[in-house]
């Protein structure tokens, strides 16, 4: 590329150490299926019920169905490969996304609250999410779909570390 490099040694953000629970694939598949099925069925019903639809409308519905199927099959698998997390003694680092990527880093000295959340469907899969917030509205870090037991350990550890830090974290 024509751009000038930043120097001989280019710092690269390495990926966080841990993957989320493998059961997350199942969870993401089911939630995507529920969401997509609603849209596809609605489109299908509209296509069947509305009289005198033009010929290409059927193609649109078919395309929608194919896209939904691809989404349900591919998205959870790509997500599982992208989603990663790591908590060191000083900071928390996550990576998320499937088409896009988002890496978040916050030092534990600036963490204000540690929440965990488990929806009904997540409970079926034995998963839980952790959200770490800082004093910035732009800074919350969420680790989605951890194994429920792991999530409990991580919350306990984070709480222990952050409560030991003084200051008002701003």
């Amino acid at each position: 590329m024509s751009d000038v490099g930043a120097g001989p040694a280019v710092p690269v953000l390495r990926e966080p150490a841990h993957r989320v629970s493998p059961r997350a694939i199942g969870f993401w598949t089911v939630s995507a299926l529920l969401g997509d099925a609603a849209v596809v069925v609605a489109a299908l019903v509209a296509w069947l019920v509305v009289p005198d639809v033009p010929g290409w409308a059927g193609l649109v519905v078919l395309l929608l169905g194919l896209l939904a199927a691809a989404h349900v099959v591919l998205m959870p698998r790509i997500r599982y490969r992208v989603h990663r997390w790591e908590v060191t003694d000083t900071a928390v680092h996550t990576r998320a996304g499937w088409l896009g990527r988002e890496s978040r880093i916050a030092p534990l000295s600036r963490v204000q609250t540690v929440d965990s959340r488990q929806g009904a469907l997540m409970r079926v899969f034995g998963l839980a999410s952790i959200t770490v917030t800082t004093a910035s509205a732009a800074g919350p870090i969420t680790v989605d779909c951890l194994d429920a037991a792991t999530a409990r350990e991580v919350v306990a550890r984070l709480t222990a570390i952050t409560s030991a830090t003084a200051g008002d974290a701003t």
């Binding site: 710092p11 690269v12 060191t88 000083t90 996304g97 988002e102 890496s103 880093i105 916050a106 701003t170």
Partner: protein, 500 residues
């Protein structure tokens, strides 16, 4: 007199006894008149009953707050006690006092009073003393701010390297950073913030527009058609000139009313702003809480060399405080440099984001233009509009989009100084955000699918100050990581590898 520390409870100023009845009468005048008229019509027997009520009501209502509100300053706290039936005591530790704002409405000013609001920066709950004599209010502010200065022992807040940090406790009384210069009035018409007001007024006028004969269809189609056609042009011209004149008057008046007597002063470790022709505002922001500044040059204002300046602070309800009126760019740069304690942050050249970011800036605007065009095409398809409009739109939109894209790329950039991160952005307005690197409490590196194709990323520094984020848009991924790593040494270290 304000109470000295340790003394007993003090009352608000006795002139409060006048303030509240006048206010109460002002608010209650309509219902009272209605009631009096109604009663006087029906029966005159109630007069001896009603009259004392009407006269005494406001007086009692006005006297109650004065009788029941007390405040005092102890060695460590300011306490305010109020309420008739529900007694309420608000306290704030003196070393937590972050801001002391003074405000005076026209009525306050006639009576020589001022409303004092003490902010602790913890939440939105502020202690309000309405009202004190002007001299007492100022004395209270000085006492509270100076006290905080001497009790503030946190070493991080007293950075000896900071050349502008006042040295407690023998701080210089006050340093004037800026005051109103009426030649700045030339910027008023170029600042469009007040345009909303004018748009409202135009809307009202348009209501009556229907009644004007020139819009009458019959007149237009009559034999006098060519005359009215000519008249339409004249009317359009007159409207344009009239609108411009109206805008001049509204914008200049607004500027004068808002910024009359504007002064920005640094004292007791705080920035202190006061201004206003009718209602005087007095805002105090603690400098230790100011994490950066934002300079905005809206497109019109930039043409005439003007700029606006805000501070980004933590622990204030609204973290962004405008501290300068629209003024010459050099003034904004000077004041910004003084506030930051690092000159050059607002003038330093920015690192450009390269040709790929350039393409993306164009692409982003062209995509928006395309979306509008598609919407227009659909509208044209259904609404059966004329070809000419659509064609004109199809030519004009991409040109405008390209111009806006080019402008937004020119504004794009970043820089890292000794203690500050600088981000350039904005599409039409040029925005330069400067954030103290100590105020950065986390990083977000995000890439959309499009950005991943070309190796760009959006880098967001999260902070508790201002709008709580500073965005460096469309920067190369490796530059983003290097920038974050250098801005906050150590924060990224566990997660960074030195690549080839």
């Amino acid at each position: 007199m304000i109470p000295a520390p340790g003394e007993g409870w003090a009352r608000l100023d006795p002139r409060k006894l006048l303030l509240d009845p006048v206010k109460a009468i002002g608010q209650a005048i309509v219902p009272v008149v209605v009631a009096v008229v109604g009663i006087s019509r029906s029966d005159t027997r109630f007069w001896p009953l009603v009259l004392p009520l009407v006269v005494l009501g406001p007086i009692i209502l006005g006297a109650l707050p004065w009788l029941t509100t007390h405040y005092r300053i102890t060695d460590s706290q300011i306490q305010v006690r109020s309420g008739v039936l529900n007694k309420r005591t608000s306290t704030a530790p003196l070393d937590r006092v972050r801001s002391v704002d003074l405000e005076a409405s026209l009525l306050h000013r006639v009576l020589g009073l001022q409303k004092v609001q003490v902010g602790t920066g913890v939440d939105d709950d502020r202690i309000t003393l309405d009202a004190l004599a002007r001299a007492d209010a100022h004395a209270l502010r000085t006492t509270l701010l100076r006290r905080r200065e001497t009790t503030d022992v946190r070493p991080t807040d007293l950075d000896p390297a900071e050349p502008h940090a006042p040295v407690a406790p023998s701080a210089p009384a006050s340093v004037l950073l800026a005051r109103i210069d009426w030649s700045w009035l030339r910027f008023a018409p170029f600042s469009l913030a007040r345009l909303v007001l004018l748009a409202g007024a135009v809307g009202v006028v348009a209501q009556f527009g229907d009644d004007l004969p020139i819009w009458n269809q019959e007149t237009a189609t009559s034999a006098w058609e060519w005359v009215t056609q000519f008249a339409l042009v004249a009317v359009a011209l007159a409207l344009a000139v009239g609108g411009l004149a109206l805008w001049l008057v509204v914008s200049v008046t607004g500027y004068v009313v808002q910024w009359w007597g504007f002064r920005l002063v640094r004292e007791h470790g705080s920035l202190h702003l006061s201004s206003g022709l009718f209602t005087t505002r007095s805002i105090t922001v603690e400098e230790a809480k100011v994490r950066g500044v934002e300079m905005v040059e809206p497109v019109l204002l930039r043409v005439v060399g003007g700029a606006e300046m805000s501070t980004l602070a933590t622990g204030v309800e609204d973290g962004v405080t405008q501290v300068l009126p629209p003024c010459p760019r050099e003034v904004a740069v000077g004041v910004g440099g003084a506030v930051l304690g690092e000159t050059g942050a607002l003038t330093a050249p920015l690192v450009a984001h390269g040709p790929r970011a350039h393409r993306r800036a164009w692409f982003r605007q062209l995509r928006t233009a395309l979306e509008v065009l598609v919407a227009a095409a659909v509208a044209w398809w259904f609404a059966d509009l004329s070809w000419a409009w659509f064609a004109a739109l199809a030519v004009a939109l991409p040109v405008v989009a390209a111009a806006v894209g080019e402008a937004s790329y020119r504004h794009l950039g970043h820089a890292l100084l000794d203690r500050h991160l600088v981000a350039g952005g904005g599409t039409l307005a040029r925005v330069r955000t400067v954030l103290e690197t100590d105020g950065i409490i986390g990083w977000v590196v995000s890439q959309s699918w499009w950005q991943r194709r070309i190796g760009l990323a959006d880098l967001t520094a999260t902070t508790a100050a201002g709008t709580e984020r500073v965005l460096v848009r469309d920067v190369r991924l490796e530059v983003a990581v290097a920038l974050a790593d250098r801005a906050t040494p150590g924060m990224l270290t566990p997660f960074v590898e030195q690549g080839a």
